[in-house]
């Protein structure tokens, strides 16, 4: 059985990618299960979807596994900024047998150096540059197309038929552009066709527990989260959803805090001595403040650039935005 996990951000078409891949596998004679992660599907938020596919003849017509895939054979990462976000769980359960495909502007050598994984790591070159990563064009279809080729059991015709079937309600134009993207990605992976190997059946008896460190058990008042604490949602850092960052130019700021601070849905603009201050730990990057600011004092910066600049500011000279492997 193939076990595939596709990671991305809400809005990139990750659920669509799993549906297309699932349908293409079904059309190629497999029994298929595909599902998106439920409950966190918010634009910009880290999400994933899963596909399981079993050969009917070999394993019967049922897939008895359910839920999250813990031992993936193929992991597709549509947005490489997620690799730095532990909560996204992109690297969970990766072994030497796993193929990891990363959509990135950087090289495979860079990611091998950064991640130090035993797995086979491939790059899906990011051809189109999107300022806002939540709007990477057709990235869902691109991921599905590349994955289909890596599996080696899907013909291009089945891939195309799957896209037509899944995207038909969105109109012919959407079907055409997505199938172009998917087929281009399929061709781009031709050198690695069939690289992914099927994982073996898992059972409770050969379950290998993760290696963890035993910690002393604290008293319940310390160990359990205090559900009576007020407004403890601030512990959740929704700032990692952000793909664009609003930045206030205080030279232009008119101190009319009641505009941006009232209209920010997330209460993420505090008012400190009549000056609005953006809370980047929680700002989700909706950019409402950018549009409503009367003196146009709030600009937008792609989040990955803002983070690079922060890194440089922290240690000037040491980091030039590139990894040592690239120099």
């Amino acid at each position: 059985m193939y076990r595939i996990r596709i990671h991305g951000r809400g809005g990139q078409g990750i659920k669509m990618a799993s549906r297309v891949l699932g349908t293409a596998l079904f059309r190629s004679g497999f029994t298929v299960q595909d599902a998106p992660k439920y409950g966190a599907e918010r634009r910009g938020a880290p999400i994933f979807s899963t596909v399981r596919a079993a050969r009917e003849a070999a394993e019967g017509a049922t897939i008895k596994e359910r839920g999250v895939i813990h031992r993936p054979d193929l992991v597709v990462i549509a947005d490489d900024t997620l690799l730095a976000v532990p909560a996204a769980g992109t690297l969970q359960g990766i072994t030497a047998a796993t193929v990891v495909l990363v959509n990135s502007r950087e090289t495979a050598a860079t990611w091998r150096h950064r991640l130090n994984l035993a797995a086979t790591l491939l790059i899906l070159p990011a051809t189109e540059e999107a300022r806002d990563r939540a709007e990477l064009p057709h990235i869902g279809a691109t991921c599905a197309g590349a994955a289909a080729c890596l599996l080696g059991v899907i013909e291009p015709a089945a891939l195309q038929a799957a896209i037509e079937e899944e995207l038909a309600p969105l109109g012919k134009e959407v079907v055409a552009t997505n199938s172009d993207s998917a087929l281009a990605a399929f061709d781009a992976m031709a050198a690695h066709r069939g690289l992914v190997t099927e994982g073996t059946a898992v059972s409770a008896t050969d379950y290998i527990p993760p290696s963890w460190v035993e910690l002393p058990v604290d008293d319940a008042s310390v160990a359990a989260p205090d559900i009576r604490a007020i407004a403890n949602s601030v512990q959740v850092r929704t700032g990692l959803w952000r793909t664009l960052r609003p930045v206030i130019d205080y030279d232009l700021c008119g101190k009319c805090w009641w505009v941006c601070s009232s209209l920010c849905p997330d209460s993420a603009i505090a008012v400190e001595q009549d000056i609005p201050v953006i809370d980047y730990d929680h700002c989700k990057g909706c950019m409402i403040c950018v549009g409503v600011c009367p003196p146009h004092a709030i600009g937008s910066v792609p989040e990955y650039l803002a983070q690079q600049q922060e890194q440089q500011a922290k240690s000037p000279g040491e980091h030039d935005g590139r990894d040592p492997a690239d120099r």
Partner: protein, 303 residues
């Protein structure tokens, strides 16, 4: 919290609702709720029917500073009755000082308010329950993928109205249905008009009896537009006359904003993916005309 809000500068500068909620980026409902909460204050207990806002208090986290009760989709007003009764008994027995009394606030989406929770609401209004009801209206069952509800506007595409003409029904007039029960207060608000909202919530806060608020909540996910446009689309809803800002108080309906020069409704519709099929080549223009006509007819009655 006893200051009277007259102008933008009087709006609360301290935000009480915690950050870090799982609501979508650019959520129009959260925008309205945080403004409402800033005015209502901490002495509130929220009774929440199933919906998007259920996710606010997902164990172990909550953005609220007080208690929160989760009910089934149709029974939030019944839950509010229980909470109010419990508070009243504690007050009567002297176990709760009157200074520590809480405002009971129902929070539901339009699926509950316009549809399956309507009977429980009607009952609560019959009993003259002392509570505030906040409906965040994003015109569909947003949390489950935007299926149509009885708040969905005519012609809008939803997950369950995908045809070329969109949703065939018309948005239910919940304001009038609630006002017909003669409660203490009914008002429509929207997060993109914070001053109008704050004035109404302040008024409602200081009243007794049932106080009903409907907040139109632009929804980037369900209405299909970029999250940054939430405020602009909200303002257009008011300017074009699609969302009248009004209140019912002392048996009278008063419009708090009468747009004299209304831009055509298509300025509002075109900004949203859920109406894009109305403007495709080959579509009969009568659908947009119908929507415009209904808005015009509404304001003819008002002015």
């Amino acid at each position: 919290m006893s200051d009277i809000i007259r102008r933008m500068k009087d709006l609360p500068s301290t935000h009480l609702l915690g950050t870090g909620t799982p609501m979508c980026s650019g959520c129009g409902a959260l925008e309205a709720l945080h403004q409402i909460y800033d005015v209502l204050g901490e002495k509130t207990v929220f009774v929440n029917a199933a919906g998007c806002m259920t996710l606010l208090s997902a164990y172990p986290f909550t953005p609220f500073r007080g208690s929160w009760l989760y009910t089934a989709m149709a029974s939030a007003p019944a839950g509010a009755q229980g909470v109010r009764d419990a508070l009243d008994i504690l007050l009567q027995q002297g176990r709760l000082p009157s200074a520590d009394d809480l405002q009971v606030v129902v929070l539901t989406g339009d699926g509950s308010a316009y549809g399956m929770g309507m009977s429980a609401t009607s009952g609560a209004l019959d009993r003259d329950l002392d509570f505030i009801y906040i409906c965040y209206d994003n015109e569909g069952y947003g949390n489950t993928g935007q299926q149509y509800s009885s708040a969905t506007p005519h012609g809008a595409a939803t997950a369950t109205s995908r045809g070329s003409r969109g949703y065939p029904g018309y948005k239910k007039d919940l304001f009038s249905i609630w006002a017909a029960h003669r409660p203490s207060y009914v008002a429509t608000v929207i997060g993109s008009e914070p001053l109008d909202l704050a004035k109404k919530i302040e008024k409602a806060r200081d009243m007794k009896g049932p106080r009903m608020i409907i907040a139109l909540s632009p929804c980037p996910t369900g209405w299909d537009y970029d999250p940054r446009d939430s405020v602009e689309i909200g303002k257009l809803a008011v300017k074009t006359g699609v969302w009248p800002l009004k209140e019912y108080v002392n048996g009278q309906v008063v419009h708090t904003r009468i747009p004299r020069e209304r831009p055509p409704v298509q300025d509002y519709l075109r900004r949203q993916g859920r109406f894009s099929h109305l403007f495709q080549a080959g579509q009969e223009p009568s659908l947009v005309d119908d929507i415009q006509q209904r808005v015009d007819d509404y304001w003819k009655e008002v002015v």
